[in-house]
Symmetry: C2
Subunit: 185 residues, 2 copies
DNA sequence: GTCTATACGACGATAGAC
DNA sequence: GTCTATCGTCGTATAGAC
């Protein structure tokens, strides 16, 4: 069981960094220090089964982390700013954004594999639920809260894409600056 | 020359649909009804050179189309709404978003190939310049206009990603509804 | 549960005839 | 400028020993 979770952890990072199709099994095995036999023992249906396991794992960890941040800050604005700050910090430390986006998997696989698409959609749904809940606690109506929650996740996901293209954390900083406009009534 | 532009056109659509790594040369050749010899005559440096040509071509067509829309509507709000409406229409007609995003190329290649990353960054830069110019004409300060322009492109790009994951045009509709919050002073 | 060995197709790219 | 033929590599996946 420890091997299985190590595979998932390593594969998740690699998939986020290089995309699903960009990671060969050999590279993954080298990184995990295991062999094909072991991989196919844990994931009999191969690479796509592994990807879905990675997405479920990402879903849990991202949801937990965002929930933690949102529990710690009194307002949605402060919580979202803190979340983006964390993304920026991670980007500046590592040069990429690992652990907080499934964009590469969405754009690569959403039109090709229904199970993968569903797993990505669940992740977006969960984070939007966290945003939405806090917005309603602040007095937004349900429909307004849901609209803003969807927009927040679009803004953050798009902001990460811009950072990758520009090779700079500036887009996420800008997005963070604009949040007050979006979050006032 | 006619062959070359047909290759670019076909390849652009395929890359956007299935991602760069997801499109094999054989599939592309079949679709274009040409052979390897011809492809490598026009693109001696192979697939990545073709990708960059596609990105430049996309850059021109997207910029022109957005410029057209922004010239036609009096306010940034109306223009952006019209642009998103067009994306939604295209999505509902074809089931995917082809011709208006480079997300898949960014997330697949941005960390791997500098020329590809640069070509994507240029596209974002050009569209943001269009937004920004119109915002300034409406009285926004330069720094405010630029912040909003970056956020608009993040919002649209992220919105498309959510649509693909959810298999629904709803996220883009929601994003469109939220625009007034972002665009008022 | 992990290993080695292997199958076999697809990949991007090249050479050379026409 | 377009064709065919072919190269070497790497892709995912499987079989079977330990």
């Amino acid at each position: 069981m420890e091997t299985k979770s190590r595979i998932i952890e390593t594969a998740t990072a690699l998939f986020q960094l290089k995309g699903y199709k960009g990671v060969g099994l050999n590279e993954l095995l080298r990184e995990c220090k295991i062999t094909k036999g072991s991989l196919y023992h844990h994931f009999p249906n191969g690479k796509e089964e592994l990807l879905i396991a990675c997405l479920h794992s990402l879903n849990e960890s991202i949801t937990a982390q965002i929930e933690g941040i949102f529990a710690h800050y009194p307002t949605t604005l402060e919580a979202t700013e803190a979340m983006i700050d964390m993304l920026i910090g991670q980007y500046e430390k590592t040069g990429t954004i690992i652990g907080y986006t499934v964009s590469s998997m969405v754009s690569e696989m959403a039109t090709l594999s229904a199970p993968v698409r569903t797993a990505c959609a669940e992740l977006y749904y969960n984070t939007q639920a966290i945003y939405s809940k806090k917005l309603m606690a602040e007095g937004f109506t349900e429909s307004s809260a849901q609209s803003i929650a969807v927009s927040l996740s679009a803004l953050v996901e798009g902001g990460m894409m811009l950072c990758l293209a520009q090779k700079s954390s500036e887009p996420l900083r800008t997005v963070s600056d604009v949040l007050p406009k979006l979050l006032r009534n």
